[in-house]
């Protein structure tokens, strides 16, 4: 055959072009800010991170996980073998047979990709992604035929010499060109296959390596204060590995499917947001984006460049302010992309640099700064709720087993009912407890989610200074937001320095966890619950942020309650709409998130929805009646408490 040289040349040339593309792409990422990563450890851990952690997420969609193993695994194996067999021309039957096997595997996988693409759900992007299964099939078939002779099945060899062979080679070459352009050229020059290249490196250089091996890393990273600018204004203000992370997106739309803001018709779609980030650092417009838009915002008008302010033409600030920071997207993303980090980074710029926090945002921040609580109440009235509770103040006792972190619920009459219920339970269990009283300040949660990290950091430091004056073993709080700050975010400001009475580090607990321990220790006598059907709403900041799904359910079980689970519960729980300062920035949508959550509740037929958060309570109780009753677990338990008669 005269054209024998053609296939290897094509493969070689495309590999070179792909390599050039790879370098180009890496330079785009490197335009981001420096961030230390343990490169070697990351690269070594990458295969395990892929096989274990990433697949753990993909596995939630069984169909796709099997399809991906077959297609992706088959392709990687096949590509390596193609290089040996066809580029280097190594004449080995074993290799050739292995290559054939890999191609068959890939072919089977690609068939399933094809099937899914026949009638794709709306969350999937279309456009070039619709072409991908065809390219995958072409790749596997072409190389299968091409490899047959090397495997000693010389079907091709038997074909007539001369024109026939010549024609076949030519056809095969065209097919090689087509499929390899997608697989190699597309991988590094921005086609759908980019996810494999960027995804692998993203896993290796992930900004939160703690998330692998079943770990959890949910605390926001502190903003550096006092520099020439704060937060992320332009794409190049992101860390380089954040940019890399954006590039790993496969546009699967799982994040879109779970996003409460998207479902409510607010102008946010986490998938589009990540794609816009890519448009930003690569430069260009969003014309080619082929997925669902931000609700009610037309695609095609967004423009971005690495050096251009993101909110000037790429993303509308309302998109950023619609997020409730519920982390559903992050939890669901198979590529482990960190949407919330990116959103808060950009909010920091808007608040700290532009002074442009929408609606009540400015006022709330001003209140927090001047009064240490978001509503501007007199700081001296913080302990009024406990006037009849006979609680010890840390200032007086200086030491206690439990420090009860009351949170700003102290100022709100509805939340006070939760606080009192919890105090009642602690009293019944004879807990040695004290509160900080007026020395307690807002945890800084809202300020931080609104982008004001300066105020958050100031609050964190001042709270820690107060805490370090006293001795206690545990901090327990009924507010998952304060819980998250104290447990996961104060660490950056020295909370590790807090030592318990016995000299170990202090533990921070949510009240449901703590109450569950008390019940298990037999310190609470509880009656069985005789009301109707009960369901449980997982607060985002307790569940996804802190992994506490069990304690609330165990507590309900001790009351004899068989929780009627909502379809979206546990790690998939739908946000109540109250997080991330969303009720403050209040970006209009078509529906209210709380209403949608209440519909979830209603669909279980429950008469009572148990929650573990005052914010969720407020949001869900804000839904118009008739609707199921909303109660904190502490309130339900306190109602069933068997008090000893003296």
């Amino acid at each position: 055959m005269m054209l024998d040289w053609l296939p290897p040349t094509l493969i070689g040339v495309l590999l070179v072009i792909a390599a050039i593309g790879a370098v180009r792409r890496m330079n785009l990422w490197r335009a981001g800010q420096a961030e230390k990563v343990d490169a070697l450890a990351g690269l070594l851990a990458m295969p395990k991170r892929y096989l274990h952690d990433l697949h753990h997420v993909v596995e939630r969609d069984k169909y796709m996980s099997r399809t991906h193993v077959a297609t992706g695994g088959g392709f990687v194996l096949a590509m390596v073998l193609v290089v040996f067999v066809h580029l280097f021309g190594i004449d080995s039957k074993v290799l050739a047979w292995a290559l054939l096997a890999a191609l068959v595997m890939m072919f089977c996988g690609a068939l399933f990709v094809y099937k899914r693409r026949m009638n794709p759900p709306s969350r999937l992007s279309k456009g070039p992604w619709m072409r991908l299964p065809k390219s995958l099939l072409t790749f596997s078939i072409t190389f299968f035929v091409l490899t047959l002779p090397a495997a000693g099945l010389p079907i091709v060899g038997k074909l007539p010499e001369g024109f026939g062979g010549w024609l076949l080679t030519l056809v095969l070459s065209v097919l090689i060109l087509m499929s390899l352009s997608e697989m190699l050229f597309g991988m590094t020059w921005g086609g759908p296959m980019k996810h494999a290249f960027a995804g692998a490196l993203h896993l290796a250089f992930h900004r939160r390596p703690e998330r692998f091996d079943g770990g959890r890393s949910t605390g926001l990273k502190p903003a550096v204060l006092g520099e020439a600018s704060h937060g992320v204004a332009k794409p190049i203000d992101f860390k380089w590995n954040q940019l890399l992370g954006f590039d790993a997106c496969v546009q699967c739309g799982r994040c879109e499917a779970v996003c409460p803001a998207f479902a409510a018709g607010q102008p946010l779609n986490p998938k589009k947001l990540i794609q816009d980030m890519v448009v930003g650092f690569a430069g260009g417009t969003d014309e080619k984006y082929a997925g669902s838009p931000y609700p009610n915002i037309e695609v095609g008008n967004a423009k971005g460049a690495p050096n251009q302010i993101i909110t000037d033409g790429l993303i509308h600030p309302d998109t950023l302010w619609s997020c409730t920071t519920c982390r559903a997207c992050v939890e669901e993303c198979p590529m482990m992309i960190e949407h919330v980090d990116a959103i808060v980074d950009m909010r920091r710029f808007l608040t700290l640099e532009k002074g442009d926090t929408p609606n009540k945002g400015a006022q709330v921040l001003e209140n927090i700064i001047a009064t240490d609580n978001p509503n501007g109440y007199a700081p001296a009235s913080r302990t009024h709720w406990a006037a009849d509770q006979n609680l010890n103040l840390m200032k007086d006792v200086r030491q206690a087993d439990v420090l009860f972190w009351v949170s700003d619920g102290a100022f709100d009459m509805r939340s006070q009912r939760i606080l009192r219920a919890f105090v009642k339970l602690m009293k019944a269990a004879n807990v040695d407890v004290a509160i900080l009283g007026d020395e307690e300040l807002d945890s800084g949660d809202v300020a931080r989610r609104l982008g004001d990290d300066a105020t958050f950091q100031s609050l964190a430091k001042r709270n820690l200074a107060t805490l370090s004056k006293y001795q206690f073993n545990k901090i327990v709080t009924t507010d998952p937001h304060a819980f998250h700050c104290l447990k996961n975010e104060y660490g950056d400001f020295g909370s590790d320095g807090l030592l318990s009475i016995s000299g170990e580090s202090v533990v921070v607990l949510h009240h449901t966890t703590f109450l569950n321990q008390l019940v298990k220790d037999g310190r609470l006598q509880l009656d069985t619950f005789k009301g109707g059907k009960v369901t449980y709403h997982d607060p985002c900041y307790l569940g996804r942020y802190n992994g506490e799904y069990e304690a609330p359910r165990e507590l309900l079980a001790t009351l004899g309650i068989d929780v009627a689970e909502m379809e979206r519960s546990g790690y998939r729980s739908r946000c109540c709409g109250g997080g991330g300062g969303a009720p403050i920035t209040d970006i209009p949508g078509e529906r209210r998130i709380a209403d949608m959550r209440m519909e979830d509740v209603v669909s279980t037929g429950a008469e009572l929805v148990a929650v573990g958060c005052q914010q969720c309570t407020a949001m869900l109780e804000g839904v118009v009646e008739p609707r199921p009753v909303v109660k904190d677990i502490a309130e339900i338990l306190a109602g069933q408490l068997i008090e000893e008669k003296h």
Partner: protein, 258 residues
Amino acid sequence: MQPNINVVSLVSVGRHPQSGRARRAEQDGQAVELGLKLAGKALTVVHAGNAQEPVLRQYAGMGLPSLTVLAQESNCDALPVLVSFLKDKPIDVVLTGVRAESGESSGMLPYLLAEQLGWSLVPRVADIIGVQGDEVELLLALPRGQRRAVKVKLPIIASVDNAAQEARQTAFGPGLRAQFNVLTVESVVDESASRWQINAAKPRPKRLKVVKAKTAADRMKAATAKPMGSGGKIMKDETAAEKAQAIFDLLLEEKVVR
């Protein structure tokens, strides 16, 4: 924005009504806001007091490239240093709050400034519409959302009413980076003030207003209507002497003059 007019906003350290903590004073913030509207980045913002006061950064965070501080101790009188700073400068408009949130809070500063500089004083301004030649047209805030348009010859001292545009959000970054021009001034210790003893004021209980309205519309009227004085009379065509006599009689009647 108005070209070529020199605007100065005076700012003080405010006090949050609930926490008693220092803050950006509301009306002073509005004075800066109005100043920014008139002069943009060319606005001069002046504070007489401690240059280290963190609250000044909150004013600067409204987007001021710089802020001028007439550095003096807290027991000094702001008036003389402000007069000597403003005097002989080609200034058109000086904006202040109606009264400070801390200190004496007498609301006298704009009046005394106007008196000593010999400029016009315009109290309780809601908005400044524009400058034509050597005249400025402004809107005064009257009770119940009413406005009065007036024209005044420049230069003026205007105190800014709560009805003016709210102060914009202050941003941490620009506040942090703003330049402070700290001027050394010859300050005068406020002798009389230093002898005063200062106590927290207790709000006086309000007399209940009994509204005997039957319908919502009546209640609305009662809440919003201008109190109609029954005694007064309007004198338009009388001579100046007659008008003066009427005022004098009233003062006698009300026992203001004896």
